[in-house]
């Protein structure tokens, strides 16, 4: 099962290594990990997406909680939350395909952030479904480069 885990941590050196260590020690591959400051600059939020057996992930969450620098751990599995990701994708274009790509960008309410004669860079924000859908549409034109933030999430209400 895919788990989205939100972890509030002290904004200090070494914390990321401690958290990553708990996953790597169990041979878990982290699908994505996003870190940023919260409204309190001394606290960071990490959003970790990981595949794993529910019982094992529960144990990992307990272990995360046990780390001295971890303030709060929340597994969004089965809970009501909003998840978003931002991707930057550089697509090959020429005079013939440029218009078609522009149309896709418009349909998905994405943004063009850079344009050159042979390429176009597009910014897309959304949940997994949307991000994957636009990516599938753009793929036939030729993807030159892709950069993703990984999912960030927050509980509803």
């Amino acid at each position: 099962m895919k788990h989205t885990i939100s972890v509030l941590v002290e904004n200090k050196a070494g914390v990321l290594a401690r958290i990553a260590g708990l996953f790597s020690a169990r041979g878990f591959n982290i699908d994505s990990l996003a870190v940023g400051e919260t409204q309190d600059p001394s606290i960071s939020r990490m959003t970790i997406v990981v595949k794993g057996d529910n019982a094992v992930v529960e144990q990992v969450c307990k272990q995360l909680n046990k780390l001295i620098d971890v303030i709060k751990v929340q597994d969004f599995m089965g809970k009501d939350f909003v998840g978003r990701e931002l991707i930057l994708v550089k697509v090959s274009v020429d005079g013939k395909t440029r218009h078609e790509v522009l149309q896709i960008v418009e349909i998905f309410r994405a943004k063009i952030i850079d344009i050159k004669t042979k390429s176009m860079t597009i910014e897309v924000t959304g949940n997994d479904l949307k991000v994957n859908a636009i990516f599938d549409m753009l793929r036939p034109f030729g993807i030159k480069e892709l950069s993703r933030t990984g999912r960030i999430a927050i509980a509803r209400g």
Binding site: E10, G14, A17, I68, D69, V70
Partner: protein
């Protein structure tokens, strides 16, 4: 104050009685101040010895053990000692020197990323990058090490930080927002536990090291005796309940008593207290305590439901929870269960054959006869550790000290040293094998120079007994790399001992080694010599090395093979 002065100030304010350490380039400033201060410190002969000594001191006293080493190899030599303390929840603060901050990451001389290396084996660790942070880091380190579920904390202090000046003072109090251990058990859970106990007909307490750490032995003994509940303990739980009590079943698990394992497999209620359902205890987990509901009392939420599903979890300090539980608990009808257990104890006692060469179990029994529980028994790891657990009755907490979780050979001698420093009036034994004693034998010098009258009992069977036992049972008797003595006599090198037409050779000569280190050495080969030798060693004010030439083929029984059910006990070499 300078960083190094802050550190010494911290030692004073934390009432550190003793520091075990080894100097080096990156801790020169600290050792220079120690030279001038009245804080007691002991120079070990290896940093690993310093870490184990701090650990032994902590286990014997309950206070935080402190060790110091220099950067690089000094720090990495602490690693085994830190991991040992981590696995057994021992409060320890390890201070390491580090290369100056501007050189960190540049592969400087004697540089090692020790906070990176020790991250998974410490409760927490710190690399100090600013001297202003040093006072509260040290305060936090001592607080974290000996609160909640205790553990080792490492503080890595670069050389320039030791010399940098700060105006910050050592704080009186510390508050860590992300670290709030749960001490009080949930009352509803405690009531539920009491209800299960009242209903149980075959209850059993399974006590671990947590009982001793929390100081909950008295409360647990009260619970067991008042409610007529038999008690079995883990290796590290030995001493949490008097081994001589009729309700005591001794140790359970891989080398537990047959009656303890039978009790586990028949119980209808298991009360796990400060224990973690380790694989050496449970055997095949799916067949462990098949008829029992389980109450699990532990301060560490990660211990609960880690290996087994429990019916009533109680997160909290064992002692505090037991105080509450004792207030509301009512006894169930356990008479016939207690009777059954008494029968098992009579029917399946721990035993060994007394014929032929001197038996290691005999030696341990004699130590019991002479001390009756009034001693601290420290062990190495392997067969010696198991016989010390089986053939000695532990009456009081903190009298059996052993590396349980990590199983560190070489732990015993330095840990015994730490225990003796912490409890100068106690009689301290290190029960060792000829394999493990050689792993930290250099600490004999430290013992002798510091006038520590430890009695080192080497049960010399000429091999790595526990591994040899596995090879005999499960590897067709192919003794790969487990025979330490050489075949046949070899002239003036080592010693030769012959019995019933069979000769065994031994190297090194432990008596000569003991004497070279300045300790007393006594070799014993016969049963009749055991008591006189032990008496002589106990009387001696010097460190004593007693070498007992014991039967090489002796095995530890009963035994549950790794991964087998507790119901499948091997009781002898059939």
């Amino acid at each position: 104050m300078k960083g190094a002065e802050i550190l010494l100030d911290c030692f004073k304010k934390e009432k550190v009685e003793i520091i075990f350490g080894y100097p080096g380039g990156a801790v020169l400033d600290i050792f220079d101040l120690l030279y001038k201060s009245d804080i007691k410190y002991i120079l070990t002969r290896h940093e690993q010895g310093a870490a184990h000594a701090a650990d032994g001191y902590a286990r014997a006293t309950g206070k935080t053990g402190v060790c110091i080493a220099t950067s690089g190899p000094g720090a990495t030599n602490l690693v085994t000692g830190i991991a040992t303390a981590y696995m057994d929840s021992v409060p320890m603060v390890a201070i390491t020197g580090q290369v100056p901050t501007r050189m960190i990451g540049n592969d400087a001389f004697q540089e090692a990323d020790i906070t990176g290396i020790t991250r998974p084996i410490t409760k927490h660790n710190y690399l100090v990058k600013d001297v202003d942070e040093l006072p509260h880091i040290l305060k936090e380190a001592f607080y974290i090490a000996n609160s909640g579920r205790p553990g080792p904390v490492l503080v890595d202090i670069p050389k320039d930080i030791q010399n940098a000046v700060t105006r910050k003072k050592y704080p009186d109090r510390v508050d860590i927002r992300s670290y709030k251990p749960t001490y009080e058990g949930h009352l509803r859970q405690i009531k539920k536990s009491a209800e299960l106990i009242a209903k149980a007909k075959k209850p059993l307490i399974y006590a671990g090291g947590g009982v001793i750490i929390s100081g909950g032995s008295r409360e647990m003994t009260k619970l067991a005796r008042k409610m007529k509940i038999p008690v079995t303990t883990t290796l590290l739980g030995l001493g949490s309940f008097p081994g001589t009590d009729p309700l005591s079943l001794g140790m359970l698990g891989m080398h537990g008593t047959k009656y303890a394992n039978l009790a586990i497999q028949s119980a209808d209620l298991l009360i796990a207290i400060g224990a973690r359902f380790d694989d050496r205890v449970t055997g095949k987990i799916s067949e462990f305590a098949p008829h029992a509901k389980i109450i699990h009392i532990d301060i560490d939420p990660t211990s609960i439901r880690k290996n087994v599903n429990v019916d009533v979890p109680v997160v909290g300090d064992v002692k505090k929870v037991l105080v509450e539980l004792n207030k509301c608990v009512k006894a169930g009808k356990t008479e016939s269960w207690v009777k059954k257990i008494a029968e098992w104890k009579k029917k399946y006692p721990l035993k060994y054959a007394k014929k032929g060469m001197l038996k290691p179990q005999f030696v341990v029994e004699k130590i019991w006869e002479l001390t009756k529980g009034d001693a601290i028994i420290v062990t190495e790891v392997g067969q010696n550790q198991m016989w010390a657990a089986q053939f000695y009755n532990y009456i009081n907490p903190r009298t059996y000290i052993s590396s349980g979780g990590l199983g560190t050979m070489g732990y015993g001698l330095p840990a015994a040293m730490g225990a003796q420093v912490g409890c100068p009036d106690k009689l301290v034994f290190d029960i060792a094998g000829d394999g493990s004693i050689q792993m930290n034998i250099q600490e004999l010098t430290t013992c002798v120079l510091n006038k520590l009258p430890i009695n080192i009992i080497i049960l010399n069977n000429g091999c790595l007994g526990m591994v040899r036992q596995w090879q005999e049972l499960f590897y067709g008797g192919r003794y790969s790399s487990t025979v330490l003595n050489t075949k046949g006599p070899h002239g003036k090198k080592g010693i030769t001992y012959c019995k019933d037409g069979k000769c065994h050779s031994y190297l090194p000569d432990f008596i000569k080694a003991a004497e070279a280190f300045g300790a007393d050495g006594i070799r014993v080969t016969k049963e009749s010599e055991v008591i006189p030798a032990l008496k002589k060693a106990i009387k001696s004010k010097n460190t004593s090395v007693l070498e007992f030439i014991v039967k090489p083929e002796e095995n530890v029984f009963p035994m549950v093979a790794a991964g087998a059910s507790l119901s499948e006990m091997i009781e002898s070499m059939a």
